[in-house]
């Protein structure tokens, strides 16, 4: 950065004309052609094994069915109050996401502190980072399939799966917050004669809560979408019913599930973005 700055200053000293400066403009075409070339090679390589075989025999019918289902959803299912109707399933999905996120956020706190290089010695911090990475790489579906052996199918499997899966991302973002801690505040509290507890209460917690809460709300957003996916393997929520209807081609029901899902996710996303904006501004 400093070198660049000196270069610019030097060119100013030489009193170049606009035309001369233009000749000295940074030329990046080589980099861009290289990027494009690499991309073309990669696409060519990957395109070789992906074949388009046209629609399946029933493909046209399925496509038509999905469109008709989305345009004509089953209204009785959409506003019913029974156990298999959309509102109840959406509430259950939300309940899974709420519990999963909360447990995950609490579990992530010790992981995050243990993996922060400014608190823990480096070897321990890196060990915990690898563990967090491991948790993150195992797909949530695989976690769900493993937890099913413990809890059996149902909503509680979804809850425990989400709590474990959330640890990965949440603690990664907690770590950034912890490593950005302003230690000067702790020093000044030290100078005022505060004890360790007071230092944590007035020096650490106020710096972390806003970003921790913001991360948790963000993860709740993701978990809500994820909870629908988990239903596919039998972990409760709306996903199970959605996939069943898709496979048995009851398009009107598919339509009402999809609409319910879209509306719920949109509302939650809207609220969470507003709350997170407020938190970022420190209100």
């Amino acid at each position: 950065m400093a070198e660049k700055f000196e270069q610019i200053e030097k060119s100013f000293d030489q009193k170049l004309t606009v035309a001369q400066m233009y000749l000295m403009r940074p030329r990046k075409w080589l980099m861009y052609t290289l990027i494009v070339l690499i991309l073309v090679v990669l696409v060519g390589w990957s395109g070789s094994s992906i074949h388009f075989e046209g629609l399946t025999v029933t493909g046209r019918e399925v496509a038509k069915g999905v469109v008709s289902g989305v345009t004509h959803p089953d209204m009785k299912l959409m506003f019913g109050t029974g156990d298999t109707d959309v509102p109840y399933l959406l509430l259950q999905t939300m309940a899974i996401a709420v519990l999963g996120t909360l447990i995950g956020a609490i579990l992530a706190i010790p992981f995050a502190f243990l993996a922060s290089t400014n608190i823990m010695p480096k070897p321990i911090a890196y060990l915990f980072r690898v563990i967090i990475l491991l948790i993150r790489t195992i797909p949530s579906l695989v976690w769900a399939l493993m937890w099913i052996r413990v809890t059996g199918p149902g909503a509680s499997c979804g809850v425990i799966t989400q709590s474990v899966c959330s640890i990965g991302m949440i603690s990664k973002m907690y770590i950034t917050a912890i490593e950005d801690l302003d230690t000067r505040i702790l020093e000044s509290l030290d100078a005022m004669g505060c004890n360790a507890f007071q230092k944590i209460r007035y020096g650490v917690i106020p710096q972390l809560t806003a970003s921790f809460i913001s991360t948790t709300i963000y993860r709740f957003d993701i978990n809500l979408k994820d909870a629908t996916t988990l239903g596919i393997v039998g972990a409760g929520g709306i996903g199970a019913s959605l996939v069943q209807c898709l496979n048995s081609r009851r398009w009107a029901m598919v339509g009402s599930f999809v609409w319910g899902l879209m509306i719920l996710v949109l509302i939650i996303e809207f609220i969470s973005t507003r709350v997170r904006k407020k938190l970022a501004r420190g209100q």
């Binding site: 696409v43 992906i50 399946t56 259950q92 899974i96 790489t137 629908t228």
Partner: protein, 283 residues
């Protein structure tokens, strides 16, 4: 006495029910301190937790008593069956190819849409809000559901997975991109226009160089996510590693599953490191 110095506080409904406390500072100024919202939020959270617990039937005791089942599984996972590696490479390559092609297609589609959906470039509020709404709708659909529909329409195989990933990438990259486009400096654009360039020329030489690095970095980030996401798409028949994972779990061959997850882990970590390095260079 001099209330002009009181900072204007906007009273919300909450402040009307619990009026803020008036504190008079020794120098005569008075300050309104709003009542803390924490108890109310905590109360709401507790109600939410209680309702969620009731709806999901989550039972911590069950998990603790049957936790040894998961440990058994983990022991097997950590003793991967090495000879299974030969069977993993094919699907693994499929997964990578699917995510490369899907990311490239999705990102290419996202660029023009994102430009049209940013308020500082597209002056028509109708186009902007319509495009944003469509993007939001696309983002609400879980990838697995898109993949399932694609698999039903286009037949089982990698093509369905590629399509699902493209749609998912399109939604996310377009959103991230229009948010970054809105933060670019429009000064050069106006300067170019004042110098007599037409809109396209001004956009090409003033905005594109600002957008391009951000675009590439978002695309790389999305590619990272896609490798992880595409690993499970096979579960609904969309090709790739998911088929192998599903098969191993179905046969309860957890040693084999361990091998699959290990190779996935290595690939994901390698790609993450590489893309993080590139993204650091870009910014």
């Amino acid at each position: 006495m001099d209330n002009e110095n009181t900072t204007p506080v906007k009273l919300t409904l909450f402040d009307k029910i619990f009026p803020p406390e008036l504190i008079t500072i020794p120098n005569g100024h008075s300050v309104l301190r709003r009542r803390s919202r924490a108890p109310l939020i905590l109360l709401l959270l507790l109600v939410a937790i209680y309702l969620s617990l009731k709806m999901t039937g989550f039972d911590m005791k069950l998990i603790i008593t049957r936790f040894d089942k998961l440990l058994d599984l983990f022991v097997k996972l950590f003793h991967p069956k090495w000879e299974f590696f030969n069977k993993v490479t094919g699907p693994l390559m499929d997964t990578i190819k699917m995510s490369i092609l899907g990311t490239v297609i999705g990102c290419l589609l996202a660029l023009p849409i994102a430009v049209l959906a940013s308020t500082n470039i597209c002056k028509s509020p109708v186009i902007v809000s319509v495009l944003r709404f469509i993007l939001a709708l696309i983002r609400t659909l879980p990838t697995l559901v898109i993949a399932l529909v694609c698999a039903l329409v286009f037949g089982l195989g990698t093509f369905a997975g590629t399509l699902a990933i493209s749609i998912f990438t399109f939604g996310i990259v377009a959103k991230m991109l229009y948010e970054s486009i809105e933060t670019i400096d429009m000064g050069p654009f106006e300067a170019m226009e004042a110098l007599g360039a037409n809109k396209f020329q001004a956009f090409w030489s003033a905005c594109v160089p600002q957008i391009l690095p951000v675009y590439l970095s978002h695309s790389l980030y999305c590619f990272e996510m896609n490798v992880r996401a595409s690993a499970i798409l096979g579960y609904v028949g969309a090709g790739g590693l998911g088929i192998t994972i599903n098969e191993r779990i179905g046969w309860r061959d957890y040693n084999g599953l361990g091998m699959v997850l290990l190779s996935l882990f290595v690939v994901v970590v390698a790609i993450e490191f590489f893309s993080e390095y590139l993204r650091k260079k870009l910014s």
